[in-house]
Symmetry: C2
Subunit: 147 residues, 2 copies
């Protein structure tokens, strides 16, 4: 059969630093376009599962070994990534220690729920708003149908 | 930039017939390889979000207009689809009426939690076991890391 063309696939990770007060999360400042602050994450390789991709990307960009806890949701709006239609599975994860920016990340820094940096790349402002709700209520990301 | 190659992306749907006793679900018998019974679903088009793909595929294969209720989980093991590495977002949905097989589906039939048909294509036995747990406990699909 002819294989179809489908959107690109990425995994992004909301890393909670569980050894700090208020359990801050890690954001990175991107080295490549689109610039701005963003969740650590990246494209999934053929041959690795989503969970592996999330753990690998977290390590590559923040030097942290994370333990995934929850699938917050999937984000798939066609315009969310200016490079082309990319669907992201977003995981919540736990880590301890000191993040150090590497690879695609220029800086890594910790932020609490009340202080996101700006601008945030992609649709990460939406994702972080969903995460804020999740922290408050335990509710996962809502399903979204356009129109 | 050079765009990466990532796994293919699909959406599958567990359609609960909410107008019937025991809320049975719809499975289809596939017209194309891999043969066997399976959840309705298919590849996501570039330019449509996952939720749209799930609603579209449900309609195309079962003639049912579904309302999505929950993202059960993402299934991404590299060997789960013999046609090549395909990641599936699996939604639970509700519908009323009479399913009628169309498109990629040879037959559509209703099954309760106690009676899956065999063989099931892809990793749909795993997905349906997760769904059985979800029906019992409300717990979503577990995260899975190999090894």
């Amino acid at each position: 059969m002819t294989m179809p063309v489908t959107p690109l696939l990425a995994a992004d990770i909301i890393i909670e630093m569980v050894d700090r007060p208020e359990r801050p999360i890690v954001l990175i400042e991107r080295n490549n376009p689109p610039f701005g602050w963003a969740l650590p994450g990246g494209f999934v390789d053929v041959g690795e599962c989503l969970e592996q991709a999330a753990v690998r990307e977290a390590l590559e960009e923040t030097s942290l070994r994370v333990t995934l806890t929850t699938l917050l949701g999937c984000y798939s709006a066609p315009q969310r990534d200016p490079r082309g239609h990319t669907v992201s599975a977003v995981y919540v994860a736990e880590a301890r220690g000191e993040p150090q920016a590497r690879d695609d990340a220029k800086h890594a820094a910790l932020f609490t729920l009340s202080t996101w940096p700006a601008p945030l790349a992609f649709d990460h402002a939406t994702i972080l708003e969903d995460y804020r709700q999740f922290r408050h209520s335990g509710r996962l990301a809502p399903l979204r149908l356009p129109g």
